[in-house]
Symmetry: D2
Subunit: 382 residues, 4 copies
Amino acid sequence: MKRVNWGLVGGGEGSQIGFAHRAGAVLDGKFRFVAGAMDVDPNRSREYGIRLGLSPDRAYGDWKEMLSGERDRRDRPGLVTVATPNNTHFEIASAFLKAGFHVLCEKPMTLTVEDAIELDACARSCNRICAVNYGYSGYPMVRQMKAMVSSGEIGRVRVVVAEFAGGFMADEADDDNPRVRWRFDPDQAGASAVSLDLGIHALHMACFVTGQRVTRVSSDFAHGVEGRRLEDDSLTAFRMSGGTIGRLWASGIAIGRTHGLTLQVFGSAGGLRWRQEHPNQLESTPLNGSTRILERGAHDLSPAAKRAGRVTIGHPEGMPFAFANIYRDLGDVIMSGMNGTDVDPLALDYPDSSDGLHSLQVVFAMVRSAREGGRWRQVVGA
Amino acid sequence: MKRVNWGLVGGGEGSQIGFAHRAGAVLDGKFRFVAGAMDVDPNRSREYGIRLGLSPDRAYGDWKEMLSGERDRRDRPGLVTVATPNNTHFEIASAFLKAGFHVLCEKPMTLTVEDAIELDACARSCNRICAVNYGYSGYPMVRQMKAMVSSGEIGRVRVVVAEFAGGFMADEADDDNPRVRWRFDPDQAGASAVSLDLGIHALHMACFVTGQRVTRVSSDFAHGVEGRRLEDDSLTAFRMSGGTIGRLWASGIAIGRTHGLTLQVFGSAGGLRWRQEHPNQLESTPLNGSTRILERGAHDLSPAAKRAGRVTIGHPEGMPFAFANIYRDLGDVIMSGMNGTDVDPLALDYPDSSDGLHSLQVVFAMVRSAREGGRWRQVVGA
Amino acid sequence: MKRVNWGLVGGGEGSQIGFAHRAGAVLDGKFRFVAGAMDVDPNRSREYGIRLGLSPDRAYGDWKEMLSGERDRRDRPGLVTVATPNNTHFEIASAFLKAGFHVLCEKPMTLTVEDAIELDACARSCNRICAVNYGYSGYPMVRQMKAMVSSGEIGRVRVVVAEFAGGFMADEADDDNPRVRWRFDPDQAGASAVSLDLGIHALHMACFVTGQRVTRVSSDFAHGVEGRRLEDDSLTAFRMSGGTIGRLWASGIAIGRTHGLTLQVFGSAGGLRWRQEHPNQLESTPLNGSTRILERGAHDLSPAAKRAGRVTIGHPEGMPFAFANIYRDLGDVIMSGMNGTDVDPLALDYPDSSDGLHSLQVVFAMVRSAREGGRWRQVVGA
Amino acid sequence: MKRVNWGLVGGGEGSQIGFAHRAGAVLDGKFRFVAGAMDVDPNRSREYGIRLGLSPDRAYGDWKEMLSGERDRRDRPGLVTVATPNNTHFEIASAFLKAGFHVLCEKPMTLTVEDAIELDACARSCNRICAVNYGYSGYPMVRQMKAMVSSGEIGRVRVVVAEFAGGFMADEADDDNPRVRWRFDPDQAGASAVSLDLGIHALHMACFVTGQRVTRVSSDFAHGVEGRRLEDDSLTAFRMSGGTIGRLWASGIAIGRTHGLTLQVFGSAGGLRWRQEHPNQLESTPLNGSTRILERGAHDLSPAAKRAGRVTIGHPEGMPFAFANIYRDLGDVIMSGMNGTDVDPLALDYPDSSDGLHSLQVVFAMVRSAREGGRWRQVVGA
């Protein structure tokens, strides 16, 4: 099996995101890890790359070194993942795109809409992939939701309810810790805390599953922990391009909700409900009928859901496998490009820079709406 | 055991609400059903009363007949329940209060805030109880939530999230049916559909459990079924008198959510979550700790929760028993009045006309906010 | 509505079972509580009866007094419930049956098979009802299971798995308490502890839902708490008259299982699963299909399940309502007898003395099998 | 990072088990896949190996070729996984062990106790690891259960209840299919069907978590599908070396239970419950207390559970990661051996040939007990 060479910027030792990317990339054998610059400290970066099995000349001290070292190699990476701190995504992703690499960028794609517009345009003009790691969209049962909505199984989509509620911002003692405090400092974190960090995932899910864009928003940003300058709890009403009504709740102070990313979609002919914490089940209720529990791995799922699964029914698959599905999509698309073969249309569902841009445009519209007392704001570009 | 005589207006044959009130009233033996006017048709009303065991002279044809027949009896009802259509609550409840009866009124207490103000004032000036049947507040584990909040167990209450989502307004074919269509006709139903019908329950729960009033709201009213003139899905951000942030979602088109009344309360020291469909469990998570499943009937619950339970742990109690707890409260309070004894403070948690008034004031503020594009509106009187 | 007069023996003040019987009897208005002897102390017994609203001449000091006081009254009870300690069931139930009363007897019906045979024969020869309160069989979704099995919806019934696991015998400190210790003393409790107390419920459920009798058993009786002389945990393999394979686990030391009565039935065309702690849902899985969650109150349930429900879908009903269904069945049957009308066939599913006898025969066969090292034993009479 | 070279026998294209092993081995970067003989057809075997990235000289046509090709290489595998059909495990595993390779063998380790004894002895005399892939024991929350039991947190272990119930043998139409039919043919499948295939996993879990061996069994083997010659449903009572009472149910005809592997452990001070289908949660109930939901990734888990996890709390990990934990253990142990360093004691919990032997001895004692009508049988060697 031919593989796509792969490089990683960021995601250094001990970081969960680094593990998740490496696992996601290698799991299906579609990628070969060939180059990396993973730590902010050049020596640690090189040393860690070597320990992970990179050849010493491709274990770089920083991303610029990596870019210049790799750009002219014949065996250079077919895909470079950017998993660095958020404020560096724009610069690094742009540089690799311009040098002709396909890129997978962590979310949020950039810190400003302006940068996102430029990066999206850059990807288009370079004719390169700029994928964005909204990794939850890789879960098989999320793909199943999308397929059911798309096929009309739940009829016209009336309402989508997206939540991302957790308690990891709930301990006020953490605000004495600079590693937490910066999140709520507009000078460091930008215009939003929980909405940009968590809410944006739920928002993308709503768009991904319905196949619609958000057109208008009305938001309330609030903080439950005294003294914070950015929101740790936000509520948003929205409307979508296909006429769907939207509801979004994002909270970092919801003690007990652990990692409460959920999506509910209600149409004229049925409703669907999914929870990230138990991702292998999807509840599906037809109008006037009983709820059915659809199981990942079942024989009657959509082709998209089947393609996104790996082990048999009843064996749970977890979050890193959702990530791996984004990589599998990218691997298939890049390989098709290399081989000049037709690409599997099911491989094209990965989130890209247009999704990264749109979700940022929505969050910034939410920020404006919240500042203006909940006034409905159009989403630019939608 | 002495009992309180009890009368019922409305809740005729085949109505669920009639059954629930009769069951709730008699379950603990605190009330004796002595008088009723249950059907809009006088003959059926009398006949049904007799069949339910009323003596023929107290099985009335309508509420006015009942009022004049009962007001001067020495054995007249100590409590009269008003379970008639919403647009008659005000007139009937007022009349009985003025005649010196204690009243339990179905929700919504009235159709306008003006009527609610007058009814509430009437109850005060008559020195009579005017309870309002927010029956879900009678669930033992809802009382447990209130007790835990009140005792400070979850710290300062930061966020309350209340939902009432079901699918019973989801079938657009029903809109051809006059029995459904009126709900979405402002001329018949008033200013709101799902918010006034379902949302108000969740709203009352948020107030009941936190012990706070709603002070400001920002709402989005929408309809997912084309052609409706009132909302079948609403989202509201709110603030409470104690500084708590609020979120309320009410939907009648959420296929699969059956009877999705839920309440989540998040404080600085812990979070609580409760679902009406599985009411005997309460999830409680301390800050940085594991979620505990509190069970109705457990030995370490609050006195308020213990008082509200009847059977041993692991034996589920259902919705009619929650109703019965409102009756038990009222029975205890009325009996104390009759006997001149001290009332158990735990009996005083039943919802009354001030709650009925407040929840209407909130819903009408929501209506105004929705009409004004989500602008924050003060809740009058809060 | 005419009512059946009703009398209660046992179930004194503070006893849960007394409350459950009184609530079950009066809930639907089919019975009028007219006579009782509820406490072992004659004075308390009379005083408590009066407090519960009995007329003083029918508030008796003991059951014999009640029998002689009631037997010749024209308004004597149409049904007498026997909810006294287990070792008195036989004598009291026999006496009332012989005097021509219909009887509802708490479980276990008797302490020995010999007594059960005699009581069952007595009921037959007297042509009186001797119902036995396997109250869990009154749950609407248990009736739904029975109806689905009976209609062939799950095909040939291959396996039934019944469990009753709880932790209320788990605290070894309780064994110092005479109120617990007697349970494990063969001289006081008879041949079995947990199997006769809990297991027998699960066993009856297996028979009730499949419509079969148990023919053979192989049991292991064990005790997890040292020093006990009777079993607190038992496992039984069995076979049924229709060829179904059976598995039964009963445990009193299963900490965390609260009131873990569950039933699973697997046929050639589908499987069903039900849990007492969440009794309003039934999981139903067709062969090679997805699991459906059937909800009490849904429009497409069997007539038997619909008849056993009271409130609309999504409003939970609890255990006392299951009891009440046994009473409703008995009320309908007795009223039909009084009126000479045809009885609703759906009213005939209450458990009676033949069920009470059979379940005892099974438990005693289990005792013998356990004593003989798990040797398969025929169930006498099956 | 140095890696252990790894070879794979069996697990050819399209097999789930092959994917799971390859994913498990490479996930943490501890192994490098260097040699394989994966298909029964030599040409396909070589071709598939090359496609998976093996160098052509190490992509073998069969295991004998692989053994002779690898045995004298300096870079030969440090671990060889045997994932071939069950009847070949003994021969292949023995051959590799004798040639000095460490081996990970799929379950059941062998088809007879005699072979298992010999293989276990072979591993000991060769001083090589012969691990057995009871992969479910790699789940973090199963390790947590073991740690809690071992630390005494639930007191003396009274009862363990192990289930493995699924519906994949439920469709009788499949019995016309030779790929299914052989399972129930004693000439092909040996002495047991579901007990040896599914039950043995649950059995191993019971031993793994309690740290005890099974000493005695009493079994009932039954078939729910007519015409089968081996059991598709079995029930076993057992006793363990530490005095624990055991219950085991294995079924292949439990429609709706999907992959129903569960373990419940009840001690004198608490109870634990775990389900494979939702493996990231563990229910823990202290005596007389409320149930707590322990979450994989929580900060207060045991070191063994923490070591077995990879991503943060609330992000589910699935079955392949459990497999990967067995590989991680083996990688650490083998690497320690190569480096002459101390091994992490937490790495020693992988199941080995003594576990493989014991679980087979138990299943064969179950077979004998079932044949002898449930008579209690000693487990040889226990």
